[in-house]
Symmetry: C2
């Protein structure tokens, strides 16, 4: 429980995802082998991860999926609500407002926000509200996670505002790399927040360079066919 670093948590979330799917297939037990394959790590890593958080399996019999899922959920914390708002309802923002995958995973988009009055419509199933209502809405609904899909020039302003309203998780689709550094006074970090930047054009650029360097890029263990 003590050594939960970030990459461990990310793996635990993925184990849990895989387990849900295996369970829905009717599978009862799973080996570190299987989980490793599905998540892209070695079986040793899986067993070490579980050992770190004191989860035990059965020698020869692997892990019981139901108990494993319960234990993972205990560690990770119950997620009773997974509600987000989307700031910026341009092409990308509105695509995400209707993203089918979200409901499968229990994620609900409660509302979108935009500064363009022509986009505002509070009658929609997922309402699009004016940016001026953001603070009231976020505090009233205790929103913890937001998707930022605004134009580049308003990204930091929107981000700063959301942090001050208490939002702590951000999925950032702008090309501005948002950082909460400076906001955070360690060691008793006041408003700790997490930003995941999804920089689409950077990802593409990386691809162009990586495929052309493939003959040279050898040092990685997965240097040849690499997935991220």
């Amino acid at each position: 429980m003590q050594h939960l670093n970030k990459s461990l948590v990310l793996r635990l979330v993925r184990y849990l995802r895989v387990l849900k799917k295996l369970k829905s297939l009717g599978i009862v037990n799973v080996f570190s082998n299987n989980l490793g394959d599905a998540v892209g790590v070695t079986p040793a890593v899986v067993r070490k991860d579980f050992s770190m958080i004191s989860i035990q399996g059965n020698k020869r019999g692997g892990y019981n999926i139901d108990t494993l899922m319960n234990e993972l959920r205990n560690i990770l914390g119950k997620q009773e609500r997974q509600d987000v708002v989307i700031i910026g309802c341009g092409r990308i923002g509105s695509a995400l407002m209707h993203y089918k995958e979200f409901e499968k995973e229990g994620i609900r988009v409660l509302a979108g926000f935009d500064s363009d009055t022509s986009r505002i419509n509070s009658e929609l199933p997922i309402p699009i509200l004016p940016l001026d209502d953001l603070e009231k809405y976020v505090t009233a609904h205790s929103i913890e996670v937001a998707i930022i899909a605004v134009p580049e020039n308003s990204a930091t302003k929107v981000f700063d505002d959301l942090v001050s309203y208490g939002v702590r998780g951000f999925l950032n689709f702008t090309s501005v790399e948002l950082k909460c550094q400076g906001r955070c006074d360690r060691p008793n970090c006041g408003h700790n927040c997490t930003v995941h930047n999804v920089n689409i054009s950077l990802e593409l650029e990386n691809l162009f360079y990586l495929i052309n360097m493939h003959e040279m890029v050898m040092a990685d263990q997965d240097g040849h066919c690499d997935d991220v």
Copy 2:
């Protein structure tokens, strides 16, 4: 030149990005300090990276941006064309077809492809073509990088096809984790390819868990306010 592993290449691409912006501001010299700040690494890493690829700066004077950019471009390889196609022209796919950021970075979306005939329109500035034309188009235009934004159930089929047509870089927006493992026969990896999976719902799920575990997630150096 010999030890170019993947994470090094990714940093080099980011240095180059930052340098472009600094240059456009009229700045002439840059310190490892500045570059590190912009990319989110320590100055020591920047200097070590440059030393790995035999780039030298001036003690006391830092690095000249022009020469640095040239040297980085030499290492990374000239990118004369950065053309992509988008498979799947639903909400996300078509949002990306008109993504403004791409042209700023010199990325061109040449065409979209879809199996839904009602979406097909070859007269558009960026044409939307039938999936049946994919092979002909990809080979005719020597497409190296593709964005996959199809429904979950056709993801692997589309991916397999593209690999067989010679596409080597993939930005995958489906929630199916595409892997080119198995396709790759080391050590002389025949069709080496690179997949970057952008799993939006997984990113959001991660955020929900991370923010709730923040008090526990301490081991990381950036455990409090963490950006990715």
